[in-house]
Amino acid sequence: MDLTYPPQYEAFRRRVRAWLRKNLPSRPRGLAKLAFDDPRRIERAKQWQRKLYEAGYVAMSWPKEYGGQGADVLTQAIVDEELVRAQAPPLIGQMGIQMVGPTLIQFGTEEQKRRFLPRILTAEEIWCQGYSEPNAGSDLASLQTRAELVGDEFIVNGQKIWTSNAQFADWMFCLVRTDPHAPKHHGISYLLIDMKSPGISVRPLIQMTGERGFNEVWFENVRVPRSHLVGELHQGWQVANATLLHERNMLGAATTTQQLFAALVRLAKLCTRQGRSAVEDPVVRQRLAALAMRVEAMRYHAYRQLTDTILGRPRGIAASVNKLVSTELNHDITVCALNLLGSYATQTSESKFAVDGGRWIREFMFTLGMIIGGGTSEIQKNIIGERGLGLPREPRALPE
């Protein structure tokens, strides 16, 4: 048991921290008022990722020949942790870095790797994910977007939903049905689709928070060259799953939760009850401490997983447990905050009476969205029960 880092890593951490202190983009007031997908914000976000990349802090574990550094797990973990700690803006090219990049490294052709990987790192090309469909949410494998191979091209027709960033992405990695007659997990392929292709239309969805983010995307006879197929034809489900389990940002998620909790404690010190700081109220103390136990458990759980990864141990269903526990915990933290705020809890960011800029009611809703998105808590429990514990699946529904 050793919670310290070797000296060279500590030195590296200090360098990252110093660099971030100096280079972290300031947040000009004007920009904050722009919509999340305003071209000026996008441009700035791309600049930030490029700057970070040039400093050597993006996807360091990728192979050198495609723009990475072949760095080890610990180095990458330190960078992830420091970025969260510094409250650096999230990378606009995150979908590319976390999802399609690793997939291409594992399954892509040499040509695909050379074509796409470097531009993912520099944010020259932004990616979005085309998985969910209106009738394929929890049951993702029932997706129906059709891709027919005609000569050397796929002709794609169908609809995707919950596509973050689709309104400005350059490329989409997309699961499509290429064999409608095969069992549902065996007729899917993994395609790379140029978002500027004729036949694609995008409609933004407004979330209950009032913010944009997700989109619906329609394909009408969109042509995709066969060379943009990743992995084998009809093997897309396996391709997508292999990288779903790569959860990179182990310390990052735990650090995010710690930051949220630290903000809650600050709030408890700020709020008053009967003329005293709320943090002195025994009821509040019990709640905070109960949360602290769960937050600290996740912190050390992340260290344990980092250790396992360094040692090359299989991670099993750890990603599902993390997703389930972290999202529910983050949400519970926001519930505690609303209870501290009382009548001020529901004031929006537009209200001059909002505490913490209306952060908590927004996070309260947002964290519920995180519980639902990326596989609901129920889906994670199915995975834990079936893959983790070996409990039997439900019987198949008979076709009606």
């Binding site: 009548s343 004031q347 009476f353 519920l368 529904a397």
Partner: protein, 377 residues
């Protein structure tokens, strides 16, 4: 022994449900969220006035129905079920206050207008630190040559932006001591400033009201001392009961929405409602809502007939129902999944109303402590 609604109350319930289903469909509530207007659907309120609902608690002599608190709770449940915005709550509480206090001329002036839906009167009551009574008042009045002069800042004033008058709660010097007072202040009076307090629940419009050397005639002093305090306690209890009823209606509506969706939404080749994860979630909502309904009826009945239990029952109801509504809202969202998280679906309207209801007129925690006090624990 008859613990249930009367035939008249059941008729009111059915009428209100049918009327609001037709006249205030979710699209109407969406419009309140989507556009930047004042959240006061005047046409709907005119119709409600004609149906006699706005004056339900007003005495018959002033054009009201002279109804009971249980009648009002039955209606409030339906307004919650339909997520109706506007000054229903503000006006109803003002009617409750006005019918017992002040000079006859004030009652004659305002009660008929309120019953007809032709005026908005709202309590300018809570302040920076709290939205529940009692609390130490900071707003203060003084008696001068030209009448009363008021200074102070009021928060969480419902619908102040469309109000015609405020019932300002402040303290007044009474000999050497201070006395609680309720003063009628017309909206247009010099020194009154209103600022919106934007809430995620756009069916509710709380405001800040700043009173800066506002001067009103002496006859505007409607009640002081023990009478004022007793009245405010009663208004606080009524607000708790009406909000509990609103929560009940909202929770029922969300349950219906979730169940309906669970029957039609299919995943893995089956309706999602056939999965225990979803089915048991829906059953949990039933198990929360059904007993809670009886608590609302009891609390309303206590306001009408069991005065010594009124505060206890009101806190039981508001404390519990606001938790039930929030729980149901969260569970309904989990049944819907992503689609429930969108602005264009109906769910978020009730989801947000649940959040506002949770904290208005005393948080669940506040009501729990009040229950403890009422039990003399």
């Amino acid at each position: 022994m008859n613990f249930g609604l009367s035939a008249d109350q059941e008729l009111l319930q059915r009428t209100a449900r049918d009327f609001l289903a037709a006249e205030w469909p979710p699209a109407a509530a969406h419009a309140v969220f989507d556009a930047d207007h004042d959240g006061y659907p005047r046409k709907l309120y005119e119709q409600m006035a004609q149906l006699g609902w706005l004056g339900l608690l007003a005495p018959v002599e002033f054009g009201g129905a002279g109804g009971t608190c249980l009648d009002a709770a039955v209606l409030a449940e339906e307004l919650g079920r339909a997520a109706v915005p506007g000054p229903y709550l503000a006006n109803t509480l003002s009617i409750l206050a006005l019918r017992q206090i002040g000079v006859a001329s004030v009652r004659r002036q305002w009660l008929p207008l309120l019953a007809k839906g032709q005026a908005v009167v709202t309590l300018a009551w809570f302040e920076e630190d709290t939205a529940a009574w009692p609390f130490p008042l900071k707003a203060r009045g003084s008696v001068g040559r030209f009448g009363l002069r008021l200074n102070g800042t009021k928060r969480f004033v419902l619908d102040a932006h469309v109000a015609d008058a405020f019932l300002v709660v402040c303290r007044l010097p009474a000999g050497r001591a201070q006395s609680t007072a309720i003063v009628l202040v017309p909206r247009e009076q010099a020194g009154v400033a209103v600022r919106p307090m934007n809430d995620v629940d756009r069916t509710r419009r709380p405001c800040e009201v700043v009173l800066n050397d506002v001067t009103v005639p002496r006859r505007s002093l409607l009640a002081t001392g023990g009478q004022a305090e007793k009245l405010l306690a009663r208004v606080q209890n009524a607000a708790a009961v009406l909000l509990a009823a609103d929560c009940l209606g909202g929770a029922e509506r969300l349950l219906e929405m979730a169940v309906e969706y669970a029957k039609v939404r299919r995943q893995f080749g089956r309706p999602i409602g056939s999965f225990q994860a979803v089915k048991h979630r829906c059953a949990d909502m039933v198990a929360q809502i059904e007993p809670a309904r009886s608590l609302v009826w009891y609390a309303a009945h206590a306001m009408d007939a069991l005065p010594r239990q009124a505060a206890y029952a009101a806190s039981l109801a508001k404390g519990h129902l606001s938790e039930v509504f929030s729980n149901v809202a969260e569970n309904a969202l989990r049944v819907f999944g992503g689609i429930g998280f969108t602005w264009e679906r109906d769910l978020h309207i009730w989801f947000k109303r649940a959040q506002w209801n949770r904290y208005a007129f005393g948080s669940p925690e506040w009501h729990r402590e009040r229950v403890a006090q009422e039990c003399r624990w």
